[in-house]
Every structure is written in C-alpha cells, then in structure tokens.
Symmetry: C3
Subunit: 463 residues, 3 copies
C-alpha cells in the first residue's frame, strides 16, 4: 500500500481481489441490507436537522456508532468561495396557541411545522397577520410542506391545508424558541484508504429534518456502502461526506482544494428509497468512467431505469460539477426530486421508503464501484491469431462455458480487444456482455499467462 | 467602429445592444411587415425580368427607393471563372396572330408567354411548324409554363394547354420583338457596415419575370430585412445581393474574390411566401454557425419546419458552396422548389404568396441573425462552485424567474458551461433553452460581474 | 504493371477500365452463374474432407481444373503461432454391424456418419458401450449431425435419432478404418496479380465433408469470382485461399507474415447459398473500405440484407481480425451459422443451396469489389463555382441525364465534393447515389478535364 499515488506493480496478491460482483454477491441479501437501512432511517427520522445546529450534529454523532466518522466544525463567517458560512440555527420548541391556550400548531408533533431557520418569535397576533406566515399545500390538504429560509431572516409555520381551514378568527399566541447566532457549520467525513490515493467521493446531504427519502435514504445507503467497502480490498480510496446541502459541499470544496485532484470519480446519493426506478444523472463530462460504469450496470440490471443527462440543477453535483471543479461525479437517485408529489412534504415519511428498494440501490452502487475497481487495460500476449484455449482447459464449446465456468465469448472478446487501447469496460460495452463476465475472463486469461496487465494505465482514472 | 476586422474591446456601450430577439420583437408586427412585402411584390410583378436587360435594371431601380442599392454593370463577354457574361436580352413585344389578325398569344398579357431569352422572330408559318415552338403543361391546362433558353439561341412561346387546343389549323403571324446584343449584366449590391468587417451575406435572385414566390418573395424579404437591420447596432456587416441566378452569383464571386474571406455567414432567401412550412437547407459545411442558428431558431419557433441537408442542386447556394468558395451560406425557403405544382408556372402569382407567411419568414430570419449577432463565449469569473445568486437578486426560486425576469435555469446553465469553451449557442443547444433566454441570462450575469466576455473568440465566426 | 506497390501514374489506358458494375453486368446472368456453382458443389459434395488428408487434397485438385491453384503442404508438428499442425487424418471405411452382419451405420452412405478425426477402431461391443460413442439430434430425428474431434483423440458415429431408436440390444461390430499419422496440412492458394501489389484477400474454408452451404457454397463462389476477375483489369491483386478452418488460416498467417502488410481488404466467403438474406459482418475495424463498400452495395441492392457488427466468434475472420493481425477483412454470408437448424447437419445438402442465391451473392461480391477497384479521390479543377456543363454537352436538364447517360446530380455531387478530401465512396455515401453513378460521373468529368485524379491517395487503402 502506498500513499504516493503510485500504482502497485502487482495485481492484488493471491486471494486478495478488489471488490467485484462475484465476491460481494456471496451471502449478500439486499432486502436484509435494506432493513438495516430502514432501522437507521427510523432512528434518525425524528431529529430536527438543518444546515447547521445541534440536529445535524446529533445525526452525525449517531452515524459515528456505525463508522469512524470525523466531525468538522467550520465557524460562522468563514468565507467559502462566493459564500459565507451562516449563523448557526437551533430550535427547542415552537407552537401556535389559540384563545383556549391549545397548541393548534405544534413543533413537538412534527419539526416540519416550523419554517427551517425561522428567527425567534414570541407574540400574540390576529389570524390575518398570522396567515402571512403560514404555508400549506392546497393540492394535498393533509400534508405539511417543508419550507426553509436560510439566507433571508424570517419566520413561519407550515401546516396541512385542512388544519388551516379550521383556524378560528381569534387571537393566537405565536412562539418560536429558536436561536440564530454565531456558531459553526458541522459536517462528517470518513476517509477509507485504498491501495492508491486516488479517490472515489461518496456524498450525501444531511440537512433535511423529518424527510425520509430526500435525505435519510442517501445517508443510510452511504453508511451501508462504507461498511461493505471496509471489508474488501480496494484499489481506490473512498471519501464519504455527510454534509448540509449546497453550503456544505461548497465549504468542503473551499477548505479542501488540495484534495480535489485526487478525486477521480464520485457519486451523490439521495432519494434512493422510494418505489420508483433508479435514475443515474451523468456528470458534467458525460463520459467519465463513473458515467459509463453506472450506465453499464443499470443496463444489465434487468430493472427499469433511466440515464439522465447532466443539468446544473439538482443536489450537490451542482457544486462538484461546477466548471472550476468539474469532478467526475454523478448522482444516483430513484424518482427525481420535484417530480413526485411527496417531495418536500410530510408524506416523504417512513412509509415512503422501502427496504427492498434501498437494498437494490446498495447492490447497484456496489456493482458500479466494482466496475471502477476492476477496470483496467490488458495486453494480449498472443495477439497473432487466437491462442489455443482448448489445451489450456479454457474451451469446451463456444456458447457454453469452460471448465472454470468462464464465458468463452467473454474470453474471445477480451483476447480480441486487448491491444492495449481498450479497457475492460470498453470491452464490456462493445461486446454487450456484463462487466463481471469480462473481468472473470480477463482474470482466467491472466492466470494462464495469455494477458499482461498494462500497469501504466491502471487505474484508468489516473490518465 | 473599425474597418480592420479587429474586434472592439468593449461590449456595445450602455444602451446599445446588437440586434436581439427581445428588442426587435417590441412593436414588431409580422403581418404588417408581410403586407409591406406584398405591396412591393405587387409593384414588381408585371416587369419582364431576365438574367440581363432592362426588366432586371428597372426592378433594381425600384428597390433603390427603399434602400441605397448600388447597381453594377458587367459587360457582355466578361470572363467569370468558367463562364462568360452573355449578351444582353431585351424585349418590347411578342405575339402570335391568327388569320383574323387576332393576338392569340400576347406577351402584353403575360410575359411568361415568351420563352425567356428568345431571339427575334418575324415570320408567318403554319400551325405545325409553330407547334415546335410552343410549350404547355398538359397536367395543368390553365397554367402557362415558365421557360428559358439562356445559353442556346432559340425562340418559343408558352401557353395554357387549353389555349393550344383551341388553335385552328391556319397560318399564323409570329413576332418576337426582342434584341440579343452586347450589353451588360446588371446586379444590385448594398453593404451595411457593422462594428466589424466580418460579413453576413444575404443573397436573392432577381431574374425571374412574373413569378411571385420564386423570386419576388425573396427580394421583398431581403428589403424588409435590410430596413430593419439599418436601425439596430450590428456586430456584423451585411452585404445584400440582388442578382440574376447562377450567372449573377458567379459574376459577383469572380469580380469580388478579395471580399470572400470576409463573408463569415450567409443566407440565400427565396420562395418564402407560399403556405408551406419553412425549410432551412444547410451549407456544405453542415455545422456552420448559420446552420446551427437556423436549426435552433426553427426548433424553438413552435412551427412545423424542416432542416434539409446540403445538396449541390438548388439556387445560388450552389455557387457559394462550391468547393473552392465554400462559404457558410445556407438557404431559407418554404416548400422546396420543384416540389409544388405551381413552381415555374403562371400559378406562382400574387395569390400564391401570403402576408402572414412573409412576415413569419422575416421574424425567423431576424431571430437567426440575432443568434449570430449575440453568440459569443463567456468565462465564469466564479467558476468554483456556484456564486450566491440570491444576494445579487438573481435568484428567487428555481423554476421561476428572478426579479429581472431572467430565467434561473438559463443562468445556471450559462454559469456551468462558461468555461471558455462553450459559446452561448453551445449552451442553448445543450440546455434545450431558447438562445434569447441564454443571452439575457448572460447579459444579467455580465452586469453583475459574474461573467467576462472572451473577446478573443468573438465573433465566433472569426475563428 | 509494377511489382513495387507504386501506383501507376495513369488511369487504366483508354478502353482498359478496372472492374466496374457497368461492365461486368454486360451479359452477366446471375442464375446461369449460380448453376455453374451448383455443378461444382454437386461434384465436390460426396468427398470426405477434413482439416487434413486426402479428401481435402482431392477437393483442391479438382479446383485446379478451374483455376491454377497452388497446393501447399505443411508438415505435421509445424509450430504456427500458438498452435501445432496436427497429424494427418485419412479414412477409408467405417461401419457398425449388427448381429446379422448388416451395416446399420455405414460411412459409405454418408461420411457424416463418422465423427471427423476419429481414431481407428476395430472391436465388438454391447449397445450400451456403443451408445457412448453415438451422436444424434433428437430435435431433428431424420438428420445426421456433423461432429469433429480434432484436438482430442477419440472416436464416434453420428446418426439419425430414428435410426438410434431402432438399434437392438445386441452385440455390434464397430470398425473405423482410419489413420491418424504424421503427414501434412494441405491448402490451396491462387494469386492473381493486379496493377499494384496491394491485395484483396478472398478466403474460404474447405474442411467440411458433405455439407453444402457451410463450405461448398463459399468455395464455389470463390472459384466463380476468380474466373470473372481474371478477365478484367484490376487495380488490386487478389489472393484466394482455400484452407481448413481455423488451423488453415493460422498456418497461412504464420507462414506468410511478410505478405500480411500487402493485404488491404478482404472477404471471408461462406454460407452464401441458402435462401436467407445476405449478411455482411464487419471487420474488427468496422470502418474499413471493405465495410463501407459492402454496406453501400447491399443498401442499394434492393434486397433485404443485414450488416452485422464484428464479433470475435465466427469463421476465419476470427484469425484475420485478431488484434496482432487486424486486417480489414469482413465476411459475406447469408443466414448466419448456428441460427438455422440445418447448420452442421446432413440437411445442409444439395437441396439447401440455390442457384439464384449463389448467383446473387456473386453479383453482390463483384459489385463490392468494383467499389474498391474504382474508389479514389479526385480534385475539381474548376473549384470556384460550378463549371458550365452545358457547353460541354454534360447538362440537359437536371433530374434527367446528360447526352452520355450520365446522371447530372452525380456530376454535381462529384464536382462539389471533389476537394481532395472526399473519395468517390465518400461522395456516394453523402449523396445517397449509387457508387456506379458516381464513378461514371467522375469518369465523364475526368474526360472533360474537369477533374484530376489525386494519385497520391489512390488506392485509398494504401493510406
């Protein structure tokens, strides 16, 4: 293992293979994994998170029970590129009481009731005045909307339209027991060293309060992924970020400019637990290895899915793919944000996320990473005509598989295209075969001294 | 303003903006513009034009009442590349009289009755002999065909099939009072200086006699365009040519070889008044800015339209796109020539062209030119992560528009892709947004010092 | 004519034109040609061929009656890249006799009854033991399968499933009167010199016993092609190989490495006589001239056809397109091997191949070669604007044809694109016109001194 970014000159030693689909599928039960994620989501659901403050801090501390996450604190007022770290927001209680002193809107029942980042209020007012601070979703009269006001000091309450309709024209007592003061922006970072210093970034936002899919599903998937990656050999190092959206990504990038060059590939994980199809959104480059690996794995997943072109609107890929950063970072989600009615409402709750969907997202993510881990360029040492596979036990009849269960078509493709110009992913794409079949074929051919790994171009990402 | 082709180092000064869709649409009434064009077409319709002679000269002189057109006279016998300027043809009268001395075919009723460029004739002959010089359209028995014989000395009459059928078997007096003598080829040229010497060529043929769509519609559109361009700031200079088809384009190119390098983009305008959909035919290059601008504008026009690949058959784009000239010149038409039955017949008359269609063609042409005028490359001065648009009043909520009515998606796209490699047209194409929205976003961002114009690559055409 | 690979500096002298579609179609009767091929197939059908031995030798000797084929003998044990030339196999007789001394399986009735390369056997055995050596096709109970065991010493019989079902449980006498001894691998080679040393390779396998489509159809097509090519001027030299599959191609390539660089294009011919559509399988490069020529000719053939992407599985294109050889060799077949039930069975017999299909395959192959022979780059000597075709008798009216029957659209396209960068095939592809129309247009324009052949880039394949 080396900390210099130099590629090791030998393939993982005997028996030590990088994360690959064949290995991780042994004893891998996606639904069981999904249930683990559901447990974590359930635990974190009630906490009132925001882009700063104790809710976010508490969330990260709970994640430390699973992985050795390091918490970073960046002071209010720190300049981060064009932005400034805002004041820290904390809230203890909030309510609206009617004339009978009943809490008709109560933060203790749902933290969505308070506009996130509301300044403190303690006043009595008539319904008419109050209404200017109330937000509902008329199209979904039972749901509470999720609203924020990070960069403009204001306050408000969110409530179901039905509840609003029932408010009497009387005087109300309004209380938001919050503070907005100098403090810190907190984020969590976990670096998992691989054989090289070249990194894969895994980023998820952790700033939304009681919302399950748009926040907690990504957090839970990142934790499961980290746990799984800890136990395998890795060519890449992995950096996990649990950050407040937008300002968190900007802060990390501004404070870690020296690390950006090491990040070769990356994924933003969010909204992976709903019942919709997986959607991979390409990086700004559009043809990065992560883009090709994700498209390849989804194509062979047998599940309906969609590949979205990059656009500068979305989650933190906006920052990672800004022109001066321009990382090879894509996004894995299910139904895209803003296109399902539950988005940013109280209906994005524990019933909206599903163990099987979370487990499937983990399996797909692992397979995407397995492609990155094992993608490399080989050279056919017998490039003039085919080698005689039969006398090496690698050929029985084409269309079937060889003694070792290796696909003969995959071997023929690997031999034919391994001229030093094609990576295994290139070969998988051109052949139409699954990367894992191509990888196994290359492994078998390398064992039989028919292929030589072209170290100078591994990892491909280093080019 | 500079005559050296050097690009000015400042954007048009405050309040002076190049032709753009936002501005020209203020108070722009396409149908009213179309009616102006119909008036001009109606005035020019009766004149007997040809590739040389007084009909062409008279037409150009009438255009001088609208724009300061310069008339050029090129003598018969002048060598122009592989061609020679032909003798000048003029005609005063022509008829066929029957035994009762009645004009059964009469040039005074329609100049289409005479084969264009017919040599003088004054003879009596039997119907059988006469018939060898008569041309009809059996499929459209009421229409007079349009026929020419520029490069082979001959004579003839064109008439409706019905009229031919009524001719008695008797002796006829045939008279064509024409001359074919040394003289000149005439064309009109109008140069409208812009901020740079780089030119957009606008070319239309003016050699067809009483044909409205295939001739006069292009002339009228070019005049309206010139009038409109006179009143706005222009980055490009504009050169308008009103020329006889083929020989006129060849003559201009042969006599103006030193000017060809200045022509960066161009349009042949013809057949723009019929009821069919707009058709843009690409230049030989196929990916010139004019090709991309036209495709972009038509795509966003909300009207049915077609983009045609280049082919070496058609109007004067044949010459502008010959391999040794190879200009970025496309063609804007409606129904392509030769694919509608009225083409080159007396049915291409005043009823065949429509004010609304002409006005729409003007609007589309202006918008295409507005793309060329404003296309340029900017550099995001805040390229690491997004700038904070909110504190500059440029961001309310994505999906809506900012205070100034600027599309936030357009701003995000401009910021994301302005890395010095993408022009505004590149950004419009990749984002799927209309160029004008992208231009306005760039303008707003430039005003807020978030973008810098990359002068060295403006105009893009100068590359 | 030159043996140095230098391109002649003059077009074929007056009256001597390279193979072209116009010429070869004169008096060309595809069905009559097909009947010639059927005659040859019928003659060769009974011979028991294998990858070595007298059946193969006898087949090649019979081909010598048609073309001056040279027979090469390569000794057993010769190392050819990763392979070794195997022992020579010969067989005189083979049978299984029942208790009544009746031949229940008889090599004399069909050579498919014996597993090709079976070692000698002379034994008596019970049905149970015999059955381990019997092969049938249960899905097609009347057909004999075709089986081989080249590289593993073993023996066996193939028979219809129905026949197997009728075998009594008794003792059988089993005899295979074969030899497997040191000897030679035989192949046939015919080199037809052209104006340059640059070669087109035509390869077919000749190792299958009584199978008509998968073997003999390719052999017969290659013979007809050779005969036809002998009688025309050729820019390319042609090398015909009649070889045992796989080991024959490997042997030729290993023994002729110095010749490989001369091979600029090539075709593997096989399975061209069945009733299915023509399928062209691209070379590994995918954009070689042979790939483009084949796609062009099939597109204009008016017949249903398919273009297949390269894959490393198939016939000898596997070797020609191995990464260290990487020739521009495609494959012409009809229904692809393995996708029709008759493949590798006794049903691939004389009734399975058709004279009209063979003739059509010959016509298509000739037209593909005619494209290669005549493809070149010309320069328009009059590149500024169009030349005046009318005064040269080359223009009557566009859409029709000129005096010489040359398409005017083809002339305009050739003139427009002959800027030294586009070959005639490029022009044919962009214009959508048939290559032959483009070639004729170029020929006429060259005769009128409007084009100059760019010798330095002819043949294009020499690049």
């Amino acid at each position: 293992m080396s900390g210099t970014g130099i590629i090791p000159t030998s393939f993982p030693e005997n028996g030590r293979k990088y994360l690959n689909a064949q290995d991780f599928q042994n004893g891998f039960d996606p639904v069981a994994e999904g249930h683990e994620m559901i447990r974590l989501i359930t635990e974190l659901y009630p906490i009132c998170r925001s882009i700063t403050g104790d809710g976010l801090r508490e969330t990260l501390r709970r994640l430390q029970r699973h992985i050795p996450l390091e918490l970073r604190e960046v002071p209010t007022g720190t300049q981060v590129f064009d932005w400034t770290v805002p004041k820290e927001w904390n809230i203890r209680d909030a309510y609206v009481k009617n004339a009978k002193n009943e809490r008709v809107i109560d933060f203790q029942k749902s933290n969505l009731h308070v506009v996130n980042y509301s300044v403190p209020v303690q006043r009595r007012m008539a319904l008419a005045e109050l209404k200017e601070h109330l937000f509902t979703l008329p199209a979904h009269p039972d749901w509470i909307p999720y609203r924020t006001s990070y960069y403009k000091e204001s306050w408000g309450f969110c409530l179901p339209q039905k509840q609003l309709a029932g408010l009497q024209d009387e005087e109300y007592e309004v209380c938001i027991d919050s503070t907005l003061e100098n403090g810190h922006l907190t984020y969590g970072e976990y670096f998992l060293q691989g054989e090289t210093r070249e990194e894969v970034l895994i980023s998820c936002h952790a700033c939304h309060p009681s919302l399950c899919n748009d926040n907690l599903s990504g957090i839970a998937l990142a934790i499961s992924l980290a746990l799984r990656l800890q136990s395998v050999s890795r060519r890449y190092s992995y950096r996990f970020l649990f950050i407040p959206g937008t300002i968190g990504a900007i802060t990390w990038l501004a404070k870690n400019e020296d690390k950006i060059a090491n990040i070769k590939q990356g994924l933003v994980l969010t909204g992976v637990g709903d019942a919709g199809a997986l959607h991979y959104k390409k990086s700004r480059k559009g043809t990065a290895d992560i883009d090709r690996a994700a498209a390849h794995v989804l194509k062979h997943s047998g599940q309906s899915h969609e590949i979205l072109e990059f656009s500068p609107y979305g989650y933190d890929e906006r920052q990672y793919c800004s022109p001066g950063i321009n990382l090879s970072v894509g996004r894995l989600s299910r139904t895209p944000h803003g296109t399902f009615p539950e988005y940013h409402t109280s209906a994005d709750n524990l019933e909206f996320v599903h163990a099987d969907k979370l487990g499937e997202a983990l399996a797909v993510t692992l397979e995407i990473l397995a492609v990155l881990e094992n993608n490399g360029t080989f050279v056919n040492l017998n490039s003039k005509c085919e080698p005689q596979l039969g006398r090496r036990g690698l050929y029985r009849m084409v269309g079937g598989t060889a003694d070792a269960g290796i696909s003969e078509m995959a071997m023929l493709w690997v031999l034919n295209l391994s001229d030093g110009k094609n990576s295994l992913l290139d070969i998988a794409e051109r052949s139409g075969l699954r990367f894992e079949a191509i990888r196994q074929a290359a492994e078998a051919l390398e064992e039989h001294k028919l292929l030589r790994r072209e170290w100078k171009s591994v990892p491909q990402a280093a080019r």
